[in-house]
Symmetry: C2
Subunit: 345 residues, 2 copies
């Protein structure tokens, strides 16, 4: 009999509320013969204030015992910027080698976009998750003086670039349009740009059915608001991916519906699924947060674990719910209940 | 009597066409007693193919003899990506210490935006122009092999950050709303982020009338499409500035009207003014390019040289022309003529 051993990290702010709904829908969608075991972890601002810890070695060992991780959000204004981000979120991405950061953008019918004319938007971004300017490789001398010099080193390896580019080509190959766009800034970041462009062109030869193109990251932001329909699959580096996926979320329904997966395709370590939105302390505890992004992240989680039919049911449920939502204001729990009912049908 | 000694670099593609209109309007707006001397330079793809040169030491010495530089656009598909960008454009920005890269965004009445509801947009971005990931400080080992490692180093100095932050505060202070937003990614790029944030907070104390806030670059792209009215002045690093100003141009009327200045406030070396758009080889030579961005760049140039009234006349002319333009399709020259007539009134 099948089973899922899930680590659950509600985290801070609205993380608690949306994860509760994600679990509700997960329970509702799973067939009876699948045994779901969940273990909740208390990472985030509260634990940090109580113990000074963000993620210990023992935590990491325990998380490793799970098939996947569902994360709400980490971050609170009471903690200095970066402490939880680097000490927990990025640390896990690096330790568990989450090199495929998958972020789908689909403007569903009935969903509001800031763009005129309700354009067709349906693309996925494959963001590299373990390299680039995110490695923490930098430093500062004469810190705090008028002579300070601070550096940040973007580290890019053929190994790291090739595996994520290959993953993106495979995803493009599996989609009807079969189109892959490389987003970088190779006219300025010549060394990293050269590596990305070379690897991309080389791997492209193995996927003759996939149409490819290249766009500088600055121009990509223009296309995302003037012609988002041109994109099918985008592959890009860690920082550019961070920036364009927030913009992509904004134009395709907002971060209330943007899901993401921090994926280790080899399954050597558990992959982690999380809504793109943060902990939103301003609306925490008020039952106002939209749990759709978390529920869609549960969908990505299920697909990663091989539950394709259940993943599709979740996507259809969110889609139908959004289409019928209109101007109705519902609580986090009401939306979760409605989605649980839909997926159980 | 007053005089302007102007270096003119039409460059590639539509650069030729739009610069001709920029000069036409400049001639029309200047009072009779101002002596305008222009010297044209042939930098760009043609010269590169003919001589292999992008910018020689002798060129630099000659350019230095001018009060300012008007640039059309540099870049052509026949030249490998980056060669002209780094060999000419960035080289000049660095050699002439253009540390204030000024990019205003104003959605003028009657101008189309991809955003719903014609939001009010009126902000300026002060982009650092001589540091960050643009320094060319990087490298690659085992290039072209499966073991390649390519790095890019973002270099940030207290000196460089402070002067641009100070410039931005002064600009915010001079505007009615007096609001300055720092855009960075200090939760991930901790060393550079710390330096930028510290310097920003320290300089803020000298400008008590200016309201300040901080936004991560990814979130900034969301605001630019959902609430661009929240911005008044933005100060940011070289790469983030590159990315968000393309997006800012897209939402506030498109790159057809986006002007920029590469400014050395000390006037030790000539500043350079250019439209944000590139050489657009696909429409070059067809008289289709909108010269408004170049004409507005001439406006920034005049303001930099102290011709405030003439700068304002240019802005008013472009504004009025855009408001009356409607669906009429005009050639590059017709738009230039119309603007020349307006500024001469
Ligand atoms: C919180 C932050 C470290 C993170 C990132 O930059 O990757 C977030 O913006 C994201 O996109 O998941
Ligand atoms: C052409 C390129 C080097 C340049 C930049 O990245 O600065 C351009 O995009 C710009 O914004 O002026």
């Amino acid at each position: 009999s099948r089973s899922i051993n899930l680590a659950v990290i509600p985290g801070d702010g609205i993380g608690q509320e949306v994860v509760a709904q994600g679990l509700k829908v997960l329970n509702a969608v799973l067939p009876q013969d699948v045994k779901l075991e969940t273990k909740e972890f208390d990472f985030g601002a509260k634990r940090y204030h109580a113990t000074g810890e963000t993620l210990t070695d023992a935590d990491v060992e325990e998380l490793k015992q799970h098939d996947a991780i569902l994360l709400g959000a980490i971050g609170d204004p009471s903690v200095p910027s970066g402490v939880l981000e680097r000490g927990f979120l990025l640390k896990l991405r690096f330790l568990f080698d989450h090199h495929v950061n998958l972020r789908p953008s689909k403007l569903l019918p009935g969903v509001a976009t800031p763009l005129k004319g309700q354009p067709e938007i349906d693309f996925i971004v494959v963001r590299e998750g373990t390299e680039g300017p995110y490695t923490g490789n930098g430093g500062s001398i004469r810190t705090g003086t008028p002579h300070e010099v601070a550096t940040e080193v973007s580290v890019n390896t053929a190994f790291g670039v090739e595996r994520v580019v290959r993953d993106a080509f495979a995803r493009a190959q599996a989609r009807p349009r079969k189109k892959l766009t490389l987003v970088h800034k190779n006219n300025v970041l010549a060394y990293a740009g050269h590596l990305w462009t070379n690897v991309f062109n080389r791997v492209a030869k193995e996927f003759p059915e996939v149409t490819t193109d290249y766009i500088h990251v600055d121009a990509a932001t223009i296309y995302l608001v003037t012609d988002p329909g041109r994109f099918d699959v985008i592959v890009t580096d860690n920082l550019f991916g961070d920036i364009i996926t927030d913009l992509a979320a904004a134009v395709s329904g907002g971060i209330g519906v943007a899901a993401s997966g921090n994926i280790n395709p080899s399954r050597e370590f558990p992959s982690m699924f999380e809504p793109v939105h943060g902990s939103a302390p301003d609306i925490a505890g008020q039952g106002k947060a939209d749990p759709s992004a978390t529920v869609l992240s549960v969908g990505l989680l299920l697909r990663h674990l091989g539950f394709e039919a259940e993943a599709a049911r979740i996507e259809d449920a969110v889609s139908a719910d959004l289409a019928e939502r209109g101007e109705t204001v519902r609580t986090t729990e009401q939306i979760g209940d409605a989605l649980a009912v839909r997926v159980a049908r």
